[in-house]
């Protein structure tokens, strides 16, 4: 790694600290521990959603189905909770895994760009969610919620459980990425897929696994959202796709694959959240905020992609 690359890896973290400091200077109440914890907790759904897709982006693909998958998971959770109790949680997550698997299989077996494959699966999943929920929002009773979903909505040692969950996912996925053959192959495929193939590796297996992981984490995100809002709905996670992709890119994972990590996505999620809250603090209108997000996304891609080495942009 050259000096420039090494510096670049820390830029998102530096940006995050600078942003927090800037907002704090503007309004000291921002620094109150309660406020910071709330922001942190609010970021976790976004991070969970983005964490799995990070693997897909690392192999050079994209998963556009995550918001539909998360919504579907919330519906599965809300519907099956009364009947299955805690069993509803793995069931909802499994729904996400299957959706991700489907996208991966369509993309690799039929040799279709992941952009299209996951977009199509997204439509399928959305319809499934509408069908399951009979096009309505399904409430989770507070007894069920207390009984089964305390691990999401409660607190441990004065810190919201979502934060613990987010940190656990960060640790597990970082281990998966950095220590296992799967993580190694994800990085290799994103860097030079043909060399990996020529080295006698079944790249499709790794790819499908990455999509399945993406779907799984979208499922987890859906469960957490459902638990927090106390309901499941086919539109629950709408407007989450773009911010999720933004987290990954802002964190410094290259959209072209090969370069990136989970902790970068974690930092990216915090940046996105802090910017969002910061704009509200400073008083930027909700409509204008989208403009700012657009700018940030383009700027982040421009900064993380080594565009000198890419000749053709599609």
């Amino acid at each position: 790694m050259g000096m420039r690359d090494r510096l670049q890896a820390y830029v998102p973290a530096i940006v995050l600290v600078a942003l927090v400091a800037a907002i704090g200077l503007y309004d000291n109440t921002f620094f109150s521990s309660g406020n910071l914890l709330t922001i942190f907790a609010d970021t976790m759904t976004l991070f969970l959603m983005a964490s799995g897709v990070t693997f897909v982006i690392m192999i050079g693909g994209i998963d556009l189905s995550i918001q539909s998958v998360a919504s579907l998971a919330s519906c599965i959770l809300a519907i099956s909770l009364p009947r299955f109790g805690f069993g509803a949680v793995p069931l909802a997550i499994l729904g996400g895994t299957v959706s991700g698997l489907l996208g991966g299989l369509v993309s690799t077996r039929l040799r279709i760009p992941s952009f299209i494959a996951t977009l199509a699966v997204s439509g399928l999943v959305l319809s499934a969610a509408y069908w399951l929920s009979a096009e309505r929002s399904i409430n989770v009773s507070s007894e069920d919620s207390d009984r089964v979903l305390g691990w999401v909505v409660g607190e441990t040692a004065g810190v919201p459980n979502e934060i613990w969950l987010g940190l656990a996912v960060l640790a597990i996925l970082s281990g998966l990425f950095g220590l296992t053959p799967f993580g190694r192959l994800v990085r290799a495929i994103g860097s030079q897929e043909r060399a990996v193939m020529a080295s006698g590796i079944d790249v499709n297996r790794t790819k499908v696994a990455a999509y399945a992981l993406s779907g799984t984490m979208a499922g987890v995100a859906g469960v957490v959202m459902g638990a927090r809002l106390g309901s499941g709905s086919p539109t629950l996670a709408n407007e989450f796709l773009l911010p999720a992709i933004a987290c990954i890119v802002v964190g410094g994972t290259a959209i072209t694959g090969g370069v990136g990590s989970i902790w970068r996505t974690f930092v990216g999620a915090l940046i996105v959240q802090v910017v969002r809250i910061g704009m509200t603090f400073v008083g930027v209108s909700a409509f204008a905020q989208q403009i700012v997000f657009g700018f940030i996304l383009v700027a982040a891609v421009a900064a993380t992609m080594d565009r000198g080495k890419i000749f053709v942009i599609k």
Binding site: P181, L185, R187, G200, I201
Partner: protein
Amino acid sequence: MEPVLEIRGVSKAFPGVKALDNVSFSVGKGEVVGLIGENGAGKSTVLKVLNGIYKPDSGGVFIDGMSANITSPRDAFDKGIAMVFQEQLMLPSLTVAENIFLGREEEFLKYGLISKSRMNVAAAIELSKVRLNVAPSTRCSELSFADRQMVEIAKALSLDSRIKGDVTILLDEPTSVLERKEIDLLFEIIKDLKQRASIVFISHRLEEVLAISDRVYVMRDGKVVFETTAADATVKGLHQHMVGRQLHNEYYREARQRHPTAVPVIEAQDLAKKGRFSNVTFTLHEGEIIGIAGVIGSGREDLAKCLAGHTAIDAGVLKIGGKPVSFRAAYDATAAGIGLVPSERKIEGLVASFSVAENMTLAAIPKFVSGCVLRFALENKTARDWVDRLKIKTPSTGTMVGSLSGGNQQKVVLAKWRVAGVRVVILDHPTRGIDVGAKEDVYELIRDMTAEGLAVILLGDTLEEVIGLSSRILVMRDGEIAATFNAAPGNKPTQVELVGHMV
């Protein structure tokens, strides 16, 4: 003679290799200049500098004695220089006429729209120059390979009717895919062109170069080592300069050439792939090196890809260690003990952004896993062992492979297959683009592999390399094995013998 086009003291370096080293070169008006040298000698790089694709690190280009800054192929075209590339650059979905005038459509504008009929008429004139009898409105994808080559040439020649003043045409191995008849035609065209244009001509075939050129430059390792008029040159003399040394057995470590064992590793019976090769039958034994010689289009590259599982064979029986196999993809071939060292090292050989250690273990990851976690210590130790054994020059095993020189990169690819423990290594142009010293190292490593019982299939970078290294040589022509030579040490066939069966 006043040079119309000249380069003076041009150097150009790529990461890991000095492609051009203080090269000076000139073309006179109406002159045909031949440029010869082994693969990787820098011939194509010279043409790419003249054509504005590469910018020289030092030195300059001069047109009519005036310093010229050629920024792109289009700029070169406007300055009277056109090039026919070694690899075809036709856009298959466009018509012949559209390809010929690609980027110059403004000549045919009418009310802001392209007049196809006018373009076709103009294209027909260009096609008649190369006597190619196809309609200008034909899609290029429908043409044969050789016809497309003629269209490429027509495209370059179109310069001649469009530019006032001196014109230079650069031909980078235009004949390698052409039949005898078409080559004769091309030479007639070149002779005709001499009235109006200067020509630079690269070819592997020295006889051709001598037949058509007025003057010849010989390049070796990025330098011009010899310059002569064609009248004073002989094929043998030029060859001597290309190689730059008396061919001595030591270079290819002939003393270490093993007598092949009787243990077959690969048995191929009537292998075929439609339109690529057919009736390929051979047996490869432990410790043996089989060299495959052949020109582009002979089918040898396709055969190598099939043996490595990259593409499937259509017919025939392939046995590995006595068992019939069929490969769905490269992973089946690797599982059967076959590894390919590809000619495109940076695309198929290595993950450039991975470390030396990570690349070495890429084909054998399961060996470096305990539980489900990678064993980094074992990986590093293995990598260090191979770095020492293969004398790989790298700061550490954690260094990014992309930053190593070509020769050291190639050693990493070889190490990858040794770590994977394959029994057969297919070497596709194993010394392409690497320095002379590193080449000798690679030859030594190939001998090491056979000494340890590995079998090798070699698609050499040069004929000399194939002859020097192989114990047996298959010559392929038009997808079939045209001849087989035994090449015991001290009793090797000559290049001329092989070439006779190649073309």
